[in-house]
């Protein structure tokens, strides 16, 4: 029997655990007032990037606290917190998310000290500023297509060439940033302002074929695991993800480089409107996007910085590989306005 005694006995046990909680969190800084610590929302601090940045920032006199979430979650949280913002700075999201945040007036204009060193047109030139760019690619397994031979030359071949039917992975969850980039890259080719959600009827038919003839992704099983097993031969991936996974699964892949170009995910940084640490936030942005740190970040994490001064000291392989693709010409404001409608339509009417 469970007796009152045994339940009462568990109270001190639980209280003991609670007492543990009374100790201070490892990153809260001095503790007297949070104003010294910058709260940063980012989807780009996993895989050790956050710890690395915290260390470097400490050397530069900043105490950082990250809220590390997926792109969509960060956007939703910032929108819901607009009346009482908790974040000081947000970085790592791509154009689509930042365009939506700007439209909701979540961000505040700030011109960083390095604004002259980047191509301001990658961002909005006012509120959010580019830091890193990364191509989103279609990759193929070298075992099936040695060096890319016989592989599709562009996305539409996947569903128009019969040999590829069922051999490429299509996403099932549409919330991921990479997935949304791929869909934008395909749909933006069929822009028709008179069409449904700005896309022509043909465009909708094409995206329907894309999903119908692909092999749906399996939740919890990586694309590379499925390629290693021979279940599929190709799928979507971003640059840094390709290299770490090749090592993990012992297979090599080739990224195809279509004539029309590939979508580039450009990561940005911005100050959150209503931050209580405006000065520190601005100083952090100046330091974080500056040439010195961006070059160091590139060498550590295999990225291509947008800061032109940082390029010479950056990881040359990463820069070269990133530059080997043509950027696809996509109107990101148009995408940001319509993407949610696209996702909704695909969920309801396109997926089978």
């Amino acid at each position: 029997m469970i007796t009152r005694r045994s339940l009462l006995a568990s109270v001190p046990a639980v209280a003991g655990l609670g007492a543990l909680a009374a100790c201070t969190p490892p990153q809260s800084g001095s503790g007297d007032g949070d104003s010294e610590t910058l709260t940063i929302y980012s989807n780009s601090v996993s895989d050790g990037r956050g710890e690395w940045l915290q260390e470097k920032a400490a050397e530069a006199g900043f105490t950082l606290q990250f809220v590390d979430l997926g792109g969509g979650d960060i956007q939703n949280r910032l929108l819901a917190e607009a009346a009482n913002p908790i974040a000081d700075v947000v970085f790592g999201l791509n154009n689509v998310y930042f365009e939506k945040l700007r439209a909701a007036e979540v961000l505040e204009a700030y011109s960083p000290s390095w604004s002259g060193e980047v191509d301001a047109s990658l961002g909005d030139g006012e509120q959010f500023w580019p830091i890193v760019r990364e191509p989103i690619m279609l990759i193929t397994n070298d075992e099936v297509f040695p060096g890319g031979e016989g592989a599709p030359a562009d996305w539409p071949e996947l569903w128009t060439v019969p040999e590829f039917e069922g051999r490429y992975e299509v996403p099932t969850a549409l919330g991921g940033a990479t997935t949304q980039m791929v869909l934008s890259g395909i749909l933006a080719r069929f822009r028709d302002d008179a069409g449904e959600h700005g896309i022509s009827a043909d465009g909708w038919a094409q995206i329907g074929e894309f999903f119908a003839k692909g092999s749906p992704a399996v939740e919890g099983t990586d694309l590379f695991a499925r390629m290693a097993e021979g279940e599929v031969d190709m799928g979507q991936m971003w640059l840094a993800g390709k290299f770490s996974r090749e090592e993990e699964y012992g297979i090599t892949t080739t990224a195809i480089s279509p004539e029309i170009g590939v979508p580039y995910a450009v990561q940005h940084v911005a100050k959150v409107a209503g931050t209580k640490n405006a000065e520190a936030a601005e100083a952090f942005i100046d330091w974080f996007g500056g040439a010195e740190l961006q070059a160091a970040w590139s060498n550590e994490f295999f990225t291509a910085p947008t800061n032109e001064v940082a390029l010479q000291d950056a990881d040359q392989d990463a820069v070269e590989l990133t530059d080997s693709f043509t950027p696809q010409d996509i109107d990101w404001t148009f995408v940001a306005e319509n993407l949610d409608g696209w996702i909704e339509k695909i969920e309801l009417d396109v997926l089978g």
């Binding site: 029997m1 469970i2 007796t3 009152r4 045994s6 339940l7 006995a9 568990s10 001190p12 046990a13 639980v14 655990l17 609670g18 543990l20 909680a21 969190p25 490892p26 990153q27 809260s28 949070d34 709260t39 989807n43 601090v45 996993s46 809220v67 590390d68 979430l69 997926g70 969509g72 979650d73 939703n76 949280r77 819901a80 917190e81 607009a82 009482n84 908790i86 099932t172 969850a173 919330g175 991921g176 939740e219 919890g220 099983t221 990586d222 695991a225 290693a228 097993e229 840094a240 770490s244 996974r245 993990e248 699964y249 994490f301 949610d340 909704e344 969920e347 309801l348 009417d349 089978g352």
Partner: protein, 593 residues
């Protein structure tokens, strides 16, 4: 004057309980949800009906909805059949090795979600143990035979029997040995005793766990996503996508309203059934039930075979999860083991990182506080509702407290965040977003329906004569509650607390929006380390964290449910132990209930 007042208004305890319940419900259940519903449905100054047209026009939405309802109805039957069987096998009948059986069946309590699906995949998937066996013996069996509706029902049935194991066991403990014996002496067969004496006593709990099973089926996410294939997808993944897209939230809300209608229908039916019966044993002095020997040797053998076959079904998946947690991502995804597959690297990554401990502390604290608050509060509320079962007040309280079940988690959390980002009069003009407290509030809110439902079943199983007797002897309401009622519902309350605690440890959906930057719980930490969007493929880490969580869950169940806490205390204070050594707690978990 006084006659016009309803009965409950004349009890000070009831009035205080009701006042607190009303304030809490208004502030944290009703207002946040109204805020969100207004936001999604009131577009451009009018009521938007766009969502309904979009959903009705979508073949995929309609078939997913049908599948979810079908799954919920199927599980309501299958889970009860298996659940009642495992309870009989471990508690009612004298089977050999009952303790081992109980421990094996109880594994379903300590894991779930995507990792559980992976565990079943190791057995039944295209490269699973059983599949390899099958395809060797019967070459015509396709490798991907384990897919679709039957596969989903199979996995979810075994995954959902944990509630039976805890709560039916608790009500089984109230069955009176003398009643069973006298029925036998009057010539009733073992089968008749089971059907006419034992099962009726279990009914309120069966009703309560049926509601849980039904809701679990409606909201099923991970299992159908992986095993459903193209033909058996359910509505939850779609709802999740819509809830996370600001412009599509009206669709998520509309779907929630549809699911709410099904849930309410189910509650109405079960409440009607529940009201019709008497569920306590009539014995004046009850004796504890002893396990029954099965007289018929054939029946006895059959019982043993089924019980041990089920044991294998239950134990294989979690055992394989533990085994594969020591291997690399490649072995996990292919389900194959080589000598060089084994590694301790994953555990090193998960445990040795300097920042890795803090999220555990945060999660354990939040879960403990929320689990205690919710059980303490609801003990009073359920007492109120069951004391005045026919008053309109009780009905209203009951339905209001079920709100968190029908709103999708994401939307409820967003409602809280939106409402409390500005000063609210209902909480004394404070802004709650960004505080440490708001996440605890959300956790408490999320656990209310589950706790309420099961506590209510436990209260219904109490013989009212006991209460009357206490009252006649002059005991006050509070005294009766404390000294008479409370000890009787304590086993159930303890089990609920343990389950609530465990289920909050790895929460992500709530924490993602409400966690304070300095106090981020484990769920966020795990998701960051293991999500598909990280550069390294971290599917092996998912397994490691699951095994760690399984260990914590087991310890919790042992502490609260298995009498572990009491034993530790006894060890710490030898004098008390000697004095009380006469009434040492039994060790057999099958006897704990």
């Amino acid at each position: 004057m006084i006659r016009r007042l309803p009965a409950w208004a004349r009890s000070p305890m009831a009035v205080i309980t009701l006042a607190v319940t009303a304030w809490f419900s208004l502030a944290f259940l009703v207002l946040p949800n109204l805020q969100l519903l207004a936001e999604v449905f009131l577009a451009d100054g009018g009521l938007s009906t766009r969502a309904w047209g979009r959903l009705l026009g979508s073949e995929r939405a309609m078939s997913s909805l049908r599948n979810s309802v079908l799954l919920a109805l199927t599980l309501s039957v299958t889970v009860n059949v298996v659940g009642v069987f495992v309870v009989l096998a471990t508690r009612y009948f004298a089977l050999r090795g009952r303790r081992i059986l109980w421990l094996g069946y109880a594994t379903s309590l300590i894991y779930g979600g995507i990792v559980m699906v992976a565990g079943y995949d190791f057995v039944y998937g295209s490269s699973g143990i059983l599949t390899r066996l099958l395809t060797t013996v019967l070459p015509f069996v396709p490798e991907d035979w384990f897919v679709g509706y039957p596969a989903v029902v199979f996995v979810m049935t075994f995954a959902s029997t944990g509630n039976h194991l805890l709560f039916l066991n608790a009500s089984m403990a109230r069955i009176d040995q003398q009643t069973v014996e006298s029925a036998r002496q009057m010539g009733a067969s073992q089968w008749t005793v089971l059907r006419r004496v034992v099962l009726p006593t279990l009914l309120p709990t069966i009703f309560a766990v049926t509601v849980l099973t039904f809701l679990g089926g409606l909201g099923a996410l991970a299992v159908p996503e992986v095993l459903g294939g193209r033909d058996f997808q359910t509505i939850a993944p779609m709802m999740l996508t819509f809830a996370n897209t600001p412009s599509s939230r009206d669709l998520a809300a509309a779907l929630a309203i549809i699911l709410a209608l099904f849930t309410i229908a189910m509650l109405l039916i079960l409440n009607r059934l529940e009201r019709g019966g008497t569920y306590f044993s009539v014995a004046k002095v009850s004796t504890q039930l002893t396990p029954q020997k099965i007289g018929n040797p054939v029946a006895n053998a059959v019982m043993h075979v089924i019980a041990y076959a089920l044991l294998v079904v239950y134990v294989l998946p979690p055992a394989l999860i533990v085994l594969f947690s020591f291997t690399d991502a490649r072995s996990i995804s292919t389900g194959t083991l080589r000598a060089d597959s084994f590694t301790l690297e994953n555990y090193a990554t998960a445990l040795l990182e300097p920042t890795a401990r803090w999220p555990f502390v945060v999660s354990i604290s939040y879960s403990a506080v929320a689990a205690l608050v919710v059980i303490l509060g609801l003990l009073f509320v359920v007492r109120l509702v069951t004391r005045f079962p026919r008053s309109r007040m009780s009905t209203i309280v009951e339905y209001v407290l079920h709100i968190p079940w029908v709103m999708p988690g994401t939307m409820m959390v967003l409602g809280l965040l939106l409402l409390f980002s500005t000063p609210q009069g209902v909480v004394g003009g404070r802004v709650l977003s960004g505080t440490v407290g708001i996440l605890a509030v959300a956790y408490v809110v999320g656990k209310i329906p589950f706790t309420f439902r099961l506590l209510k079943a436990a209260f219904l199983g109490i013989n009212r004569n006991v209460e009357e007797a206490a009252s006649l002897l002059g005991a006050s309401q509070l005294y009766t509650f404390r000294r008479v009622i409370l000890p009787l519902v304590l086993p159930t309350a303890a089990a609920i607390t343990a389950l609530n605690f465990n289920s909050m440890l790895d929460d992500y959906d709530t924490a993602v929006f409400l966690a304070h930057p300095f106090y981020q719980p484990l769920g966020i930490f795990i998701r960051n380390a293991t999500s598909g969007e990280t550069n390294a493929d971290a599917s092996a880490l998912v397994f490691v964290y699951s095994v760690i969580l399984m260990v914590i869950a087991t310890i919790t169940l042992w502490l609260i449910y298995g009498g572990g806490a009491a034993r530790i205390l006894r060890l710490l204070s030898p004098r008390r132990a000697r004095r009380r050594s006469g009434d040492a707690l039994p060790l057999d978990p099958a006897d704990q209930a």
